[in-house]
């Protein structure tokens, strides 16, 4: 179906080719995963399938890419629109119209499909993805998971043979991600589509994959079955890590498979010791925090104590009020209730003083960056924080992420940019640091870097609150956990106790070894040792 023949791709001005002599042949009806660390060329590979690379992005393509026999060099993406459906990273940015129905019809209108046939296909597509009840809703009012399904429906309506998806679940909470993934697997199994999907978080999707393309980062690509490739790749979802610990040559792709094998081999790790109740002083105390947007109460009556030197994860659905709570705690969003950080209320302080008490790294960290070089940003942060010159640069170095000072901040990878913004925010030496969805778009290596950084900060006595959708990261990095739903704090406790008791939020290791409470592969390694 999709054939790459000796494909090399070099972007203008790049030193090395992004893809180097890639050859592979993807059979029809496969669900193929594309994995690799950030910046290894996943998006480039996906774009090459429908010709967006190089027709739209520029660059030099050598070799041949053919889809169902059509050469992408001779066919522009618009000519392949009824053959390849492409959904980009942020579906909202790719939407052309305002409402669900119009968006689904848009592609067909461009292809000049007869209005009667179009009417029928819109209905079929709405049903196929289970979004018929959303048909007249404005796109901007949909939740992230709904938007993603509409985006998929919009390209499916043109009845393509191939569906290309770039990180379809990276911004979604576990339940919404599950909805999208099950829609995709239905398409593969029931409709016979060939799906190529790039993803950072493999936990849920790898069990459905037939094949895998691993981009190690040197421009080459390895094509094979997920079991074989995951055993050697640097991309290590929890089950792959477990396979390495247990010495299995093939990686189990689902929790069920891993559980059976672990039981057959009588693997029984010792349960983790739950983290002790925090005994440090309370650095952030919030009582009855309430955030309202007009009629809507985004956060209602949240009581919260954050202790010195702890890492707290904040989980909850998209729209549960996590971001609003963090912004309110920083004092940047007006709210009712009491907030007390080291004896002061950040809401009553000027911005520069509030961030000496609580600092927030927002979800779009790039919003804080506006200078041409990393070094200039660091120098600016020193003056803003009234710190000695070089403080921020030293902090950045101490975070252990290599960020060249002469680089433009906009050219950094997600992980590097996060480290830079974190260093800028830490320059104010706050006792409390809030991170809003830092794991979005991070690969496994960057996430473990982030874990290391967070653990280091906590050891220095800083209290950290991280909102995230990534259960595995929460299991790895946090000791306390807050669960939010519909603006309320519904559970609070140790990560081990809360995560192992919840079916929706249990990390994979907890599911594999239930009822023994273990959270991460390293817990298992320790427990077996």
């Amino acid at each position: 179906m999709i054939r790459f023949e000796d494909v090399s791709l070099t972007y203008p001005g790049a030193d090395a080719p992004t893809l180097h002599r890639v050859s592979l042949a993807l059979p029809e009806g496969d669900l193929c995963l594309v994995v690799g660390s950030t910046g290894c060329g996943k998006s480039t590979l996906l774009g090459a399938i429908n010709g967006l690379v190089p027709h739209f992005t520029g660059g030099t393509l050598r070799g041949r890419v053919t889809v169902a026999g059509l050469d992408t060099a001779a066919h522009r993406p618009r000519d392949l629109a009824d053959l390849v459906g492409y959904v980009g990273q942020d579906p909202l940015r790719g939407f052309v119209t305002d409402t669900v129905e119009d968006e689904i019809a848009y592609g067909m209108e461009q292809l000049g499909i007869d209005p009667v046939a179009m009417r029928k296909r819109v209905e079929e597509t709405l049903d196929l993805l289970g979004i018929a009840d959303l048909r007249r809703r404005p796109l901007v009012e949909l939740s992230g998971g709904q938007q993603q399904r509409v985006a998929i429906a919009a390209v499916l309506a043109a009845q393509p043979k191939v569906l290309v998806l770039d990180e379809p679940t990276s911004a979604l909470d576990p339940t919404a991600a599950q909805d999208v993934l099950s829609a995709i697997t239905t398409l593969v199994h029931e409709v016979g589509l060939t799906v190529v999907l790039a993803e950072h978080r493999l936990e849920r999707v790898m069990q459905a994959a037939d094949s895998m393309i691993w981009l190690p980062g040197d421009g080459s690509a390895r094509f094979g079955t997920p079991r074989d490739l995951l055993a050697e790749s640097t991309v290590t979802p929890p089950l792959a890590a477990l396979a390495r610990i247990a010495g299995w040559s093939q990686v189990p792709l689902s929790v069920r498979e891993a559980r059976r094998r672990a039981q057959a081999e009588h693997l029984a790790p010792a349960p983790v010791r739950p983290a002790p109740e925090p005994d440090g002083e309370v650095v952030l105390r919030a009582r009855g925090v309430e955030v309202r947007f007009g009629e809507l109460a985004a956060v209602r009556g949240v009581d919260l104590d954050v202790h010195r030197g702890t890492v707290t994860a904040l989980l909850g659905r998209n729209g549960a009020g996590k971001s609003s709570l963090l912004w309110a705690l920083q004092g940047a969003l007006s709210c009712a209730g009491e907030i007390d950080v080291a004896g002061a209320d950040p809401r009553r302080l000027a911005a520069a003083e509030a961030r000496r008490l609580v600092t927030l790294v927002p979800q779009t960290a790039a919003d804080l960056l506006y200078l041409p070089t990393v070094a200039a940003e660091c120098a600016q942060a020193d003056t803003e924080s009234a710190a000695a010159p070089g403080t921020t640069a030293a902090l950045l170095a101490s975070l252990g992420v290599d960020v060249p000072g002469g680089r433009d901040p906009r050219d950094l990878s997600e992980g590097q940019r996060l480290a830079l913004v974190l260093a800028i925010q830490l320059a104010a030496r706050p006792p409390v640091v809030l991170l809003d969805e830092p794991t979005r778009g991070l690969d496994y290596r960057s996430k473990s870097e982030l874990h290391r950084i967070v653990a280091g900060l906590a050891a220095d006595g800083i209290a950290i609150v991280i909102s995230t959708h990534d259960v595995e990261f929460a299991a790895l990095a946090s000791e306390r956990l807050l669960l939010m739903a519909d603006g309320e704090l519904i559970a609070e406790g140790t990560t081990a106790a809360l995560l192992t008791s919840s079916p929706a939020y249990a990390p994979q290791m907890a599911k594999v070894f239930a009822p023994v409470p273990v959270l991460t592969p390293s817990d298992v390694a320790r427990g077996l040792g």
Binding site: D79, R93, G94, V96, F293, Y370
Partner: protein, 408 residues
């Protein structure tokens, strides 16, 4: 959320709404009578509130009301500070700044008269109500929907407008987000420095969004059904539009009305044919095109009739009218005098104009509001996040003032 099946009854062809609104704007441009202006504005707001949909763009009318108030405010402030002081009813006197000889004719401060202020208010009110009419069209019919109905030959131009329409609210949304984020960095810089700090991330974001949109359109086949033979349509359209212009010129400025009308009609027909020919090369189809029914004609006609009435009455020569006609039509009442200041008159014709502005209420039905709001409106919450929904600054949900009150 609109329940299935209700669409047909409540929705009107977007061009009908635009026609009604623009015609009312034209009508308003022909008068400074504050009573008429206020009544038309009230009628327009009433139609919007009772007939708009629940979509986000339907909430923009408040922004236009605010804009109108700003227009009036600015005009009055300028009038007070540097306007002339015609009339005798002095309201108050500002200290006057003496200006040198060469600046004669310009006055700073001095006596502020009721007549001058009234004149400024009347004039600004006219502009404000015209703006309100545009806002009403925006709220009642999504501009993108309206652009879908343009002739296919103008397709590329309308796509450019559509993209501009989607970028503008996104720019506002990212500006708000970045501005909020600046506080996190403790940066309270004002003026040019702050502008740079906000503008750079906002522009980067806007460019990235536009590229993503362009990639999405390309990947979904935009521009694919183009490039068929169009020879002949461009010369035809050029010649025909020149003929139409010449015809209009002759009709208005010379007594040869017969050849002028022939030229005008022939020219318009030629342009229509040219547009049709050019549109044929583009084989874009339309999903569920809005039908143009009697209801649409009625709404558009009520607006056009209102415009014709006001402009027509204003065009009449009072000297040529009989006393009875003068009493009924009263062309002078459209432009009430402010010096001396008199209470403006309301004539029967004006009441007809107001009734015509309200006419769409009879021709359309109210949107059926769902009894239970099934989905949380968490757009503003989501606007805190990346890639958030475009939330134009002025478009805030749940405006108590303008929330529809009529159900069913």
């Amino acid at each position: 959320m609109v329940a299935e099946g209700t669409e047909e009854l409540t929705s009107l062809h977007p061009l009908a709404w635009w026609c009604w609104a623009i015609a009312l704007g034209l009508a308003v441009s022909g008068t400074t009578n504050p009573l008429l202006l206020a009544l038309v504005a009230t009628a327009v707001v009433a139609v919007v509130v009772l007939r708009r949909s629940g979509a986000p763009w339907a909430r923009s009318v408040r922004a236009y009301l605010v804009l109108g108030a700003v227009v009036i405010g600015i005009r009055v402030v300028f009038q007070v500070l540097i306007g002339s002081s015609a009339g005798e009813t002095v309201l108050f006197t500002l200290p006057e700044v003496p200006l040198p000889e060469w600046a004669a004719g310009i006055r700073l401060g001095g006596a502020v008269t009721a007549e001058a202020v009234a004149f400024a208010v009347y004039d600004a009110l006219r502009l404000a109500v015209m703006l309100l009419c545009i806002g009403a069209a925006n709220s009642l019919a999504n501009p993108r929907q309206a652009l879908r109905s343009v002739p296919a030959a103008l397709y590329e131009a309308s796509v450019a407008v559509v993209i501009a329409l989607s970028v503008a609210p996104q720019l506002i949304e990212s500006a708000q987000r970045v501005h909020r984020a600046r506080r996190l960095r403790g940066d309270s810089a004002k003026g040019l420095r702050a502008l740079g700090a906000v503008a750079l991330p906002v522009l980067t974001d806007a460019i990235e969004r536009s590229l993503a949109l362009a990639a999405g359109m390309e990947a979904r086949g935009f521009g694919r059904t183009r490039g068929l033979d169009t020879a002949g349509s461009l010369p035809l359209m050029l010649v025909a539009s020149m003929a139409a212009t010449l015809g209009a010129f002759l009709l208005l400025s010379t007594p040869w009305w017969a050849p002028a009308t022939a030229l005008l009609v022939g020219g318009i027909a030629g342009v229509g044919l040219g547009l049709r020919l050019a549109g044929r090369r583009l084989q874009v189809t339309h999903y569920r095109p809005h039908p143009w029914r009697a209801r649409e004609t009625a709404v558009a006609a009520s607006g056009l009739l209102a415009a014709a009435l006001v402009l027509g009455v204003g065009w009449l020569d009072p000297a040529a009218l009989s006393d009875a006609a003068l009493a009924w039509l009263a062309p002078a009442a459209l432009f009430p005098t402010t010096n001396p200041l008199v209470w403006p008159d309301l004539t029967p014709v004006m009441l007809v104009v107001v009734a015509l502005a309200l006419a769409p209420l009879w021709f359309t039905r109210a949107r059926r509001l769902p009894a239970v709001e099934t989905v949380r409106r968490d757009r503003r919450v989501r606007s805190l996040r990346a890639g958030a929904a475009p939330v134009p600054a002025a478009v805030r949900p749940a405006e108590a003032l303008l929330e529809p009150e009529v159900v069913g």
